[in-house]
Amino acid sequence: MDQTELLREVVVSALSDGRHLKVCGQGSKRHYLPEISAEISAEMVSTVEHTGIVALEPEELVVTVRAGTPLKVLRQELARGRQMLGAEPPEFSGLGTVGGALGSGFSGPGRPWRGSLRDSVLGIEVINGKGERLKFGGQVMKNVAGYDVSRLNVGAFANLGLILQASLRLVPQPDHSRTLCYELDGEAALRFCRQVAQQPYPVTATFWHDDNLSIRLEGAESALDAAEARLGGQRDATNGLWSSIRDQRHVAFSAMAESGAVRVICPPNAPAPEGLDWSFEWNGGLRWIWTNALSVNIAEYVHRANGWAWQLGCEVPIESGQKQIMRRIKQAFDPGDVFRSPLNLLSNLDGSDAD
């Protein structure tokens, strides 16, 4: 259902009354994010009613979809034409919406091979903090007219505006998919992934947990056979391994619910952390450390690994020089600070918290 006018009125009236808004879909990623500080009250504005596929053009490899549409519904619809999004944003038991996925920008276990969610965004329609409805990008594959505001909004946690709808690039579903498993400790698994990455194997995801490495191969059957003949390993017969990683239902993630997690991004060849409970995706470029605190020990490890770490549920770490620019960008889109977001880029702060 098209709720554009309604949503716009909510923003316009919040702006004129000096109220603040917090944009959400179903709230499926709430556990990831810090609470918005309680002293500032922000009303929820939800896009869940703003649903529907506006246009699906399989031969143009593009879909235009409203923000409230559940990802699962979109995925099922695309599958009818044997297509899909390249990225695999978490669906979180069917709750995740397209708008929530775009706002948070997570891309799933295939990210280094299939691209990020932001990569597939061709165009976007947003309501900025002034209540203006704006369109950027478009429905075509290549478009460099104007600044890339579409992709800037992906992963912005609704700091800049409320995403109404987006046009996304589609890819064909692979003909075949196969998962190979190996019993390897962390360091050996990282090494194996590095070797595999040097060759043009049809790998589209990797995951390591509890001394088990899983590698997903996708493509033509002949290509999978050829890869399997060279890579060996055990075929994984269980169904749904990759969607359980995507949605963080896999047993590895149970540690997250119990004790929390630190999400580390670093070059894949960084050494394995010692004496920590951890798992990895993306050939080791994304590492989950299962712990409830970003200890000095972990911080030092991340520094040595030339990466960055984010303790889920806490503030996202942003370097101060970049934060200044981000604040000014926030101000450019939302001069009245209507949108309160867990990214905490409040534009009217004087920047005194620069670290």
Binding site: L134, V140, K142, V144, Y147, N159, Q173, S222, M326
Partner: protein, 489 residues
Amino acid sequence: MTDWSFNKNLVLELLRGVLPQGNLITDHAGLRPYECDGLTAIREQPWLVALPETEQQVVSIVRICNEYGVPIVPRGAGTGLSGGARPHEAGVVLGLSKMNHILEIDPENSVARLEPGVRNLAISEAAAEFGLYYAPDPSSQIACSIGGNVAENSGGVHCLKYGLTVHNVLGVRVVTSDGIVLEIGGAWYDAPGLDLLAVLCGSEGMLGIITEITVALLPRPDSVAVMLAAFRNFTDAGVAVAEVIGRGIIPAGMEMMDKLAVQAAEQFAKAGYPEDAAAILLIELDGTELEVSGLTAQVDRIVRTAGAYHVDIAESAQEQLRLWKGRKSAFPAVGRLAPDYYCMDGTIPRRELGRVLAEIAALSETYGLRVANVFHAGDGNLHPLILFDANEAGDLEAAEEMGGKILELCVQVGGTVTGEHGVGVEKLNQMCVQFNPTELEQFFALKAAWDPNGILNPGKGIPTLTRCGELGGMHVRHGELPLPELERF
């Protein structure tokens, strides 16, 4: 209008203090090569050219210019086709050609760290010893710089499958207008906070100076096949493209050329193109050996069913190079058909191809100017090349006007005025057609967030509202005529 008056002697003195002798060009003859980029019809002499060798020098130059209000026009190799690197008469051209070192090829993480002046092709050459390459390959790749590629978000014939520059860059170091160095992303995918990297890609030197780039490298595919299919009419070729993609095949490249482009390329490059064809398709398929032979057979059937009367499959690397050579030299080849040509760069939904080409043919008729069409068919990016003679009175203006009409047509059918060459100074008017005043204002606000004093590449990329206003209501936006209530005759 911004006032660009500043104390030239003082600024010159300061710049001399930060750059080695010889890296500051001020004499008329020395400035000449910097008068224009690849859009040679538009020229301007800059006040001076500064050629830094280090990031620290870039920082110093930017700080001086920001303090005294001196416009800066960043420049890579100057191959841009929209006048993005066209100098500012009162300003500094900041040429990055001396910062051309490959800082690191890291095969373990499959990344390369580069200075901005590194040539696109040099990256793949340096990575070759590890069996790796850098995927985006603009036709200008022997000359254009990686910094320019990032600033334009350039594509290439392989971007249908492997993506544009934005999809292959992991991080950049950028000097902001106030002379601060930001390190955005870099070591690996995805940086925290707003996606500054995404907005820098394609920012045409208007948001910051890119001083270092980290790109992803890919392993070379095991096997490649290149296929040429010739058609008696354009529509059939268009059907073939839709069919290939409709069957779930994403070729590594899929290019289309029309009769005039084919003839020009054949005479220039002797690539073995059938000169009687109304259109040809070049299709590259890659993967494992078995996969490629399976795909080749499948695509062969598809194109023949769609009406191809001649199919040439190149198996050896040498044969493949021959087939690609025709396409890669299409621009210079067309350049021999007339004293001048004007290269357009619209993108359209592919289903509109037939209609758009018919209208281009009609425009060609009306203006009396020939057009050769080269088309990144897989992703809908159309390059009509308008032939003209700048020495003929009125020819250039006619070519520009006709080009503008083509771009407006692209917008009208749901496309965009630029797929990969950027707006620069060339497509400012057409931007008024694609964006409304509120959207343009939002662009300006974003620009001001990065560059409050407006010193970086002023006057490019985004048209002022005044400019759009002066162009008047003659433009069509989203297929709607302005003032629809008025009767038209």
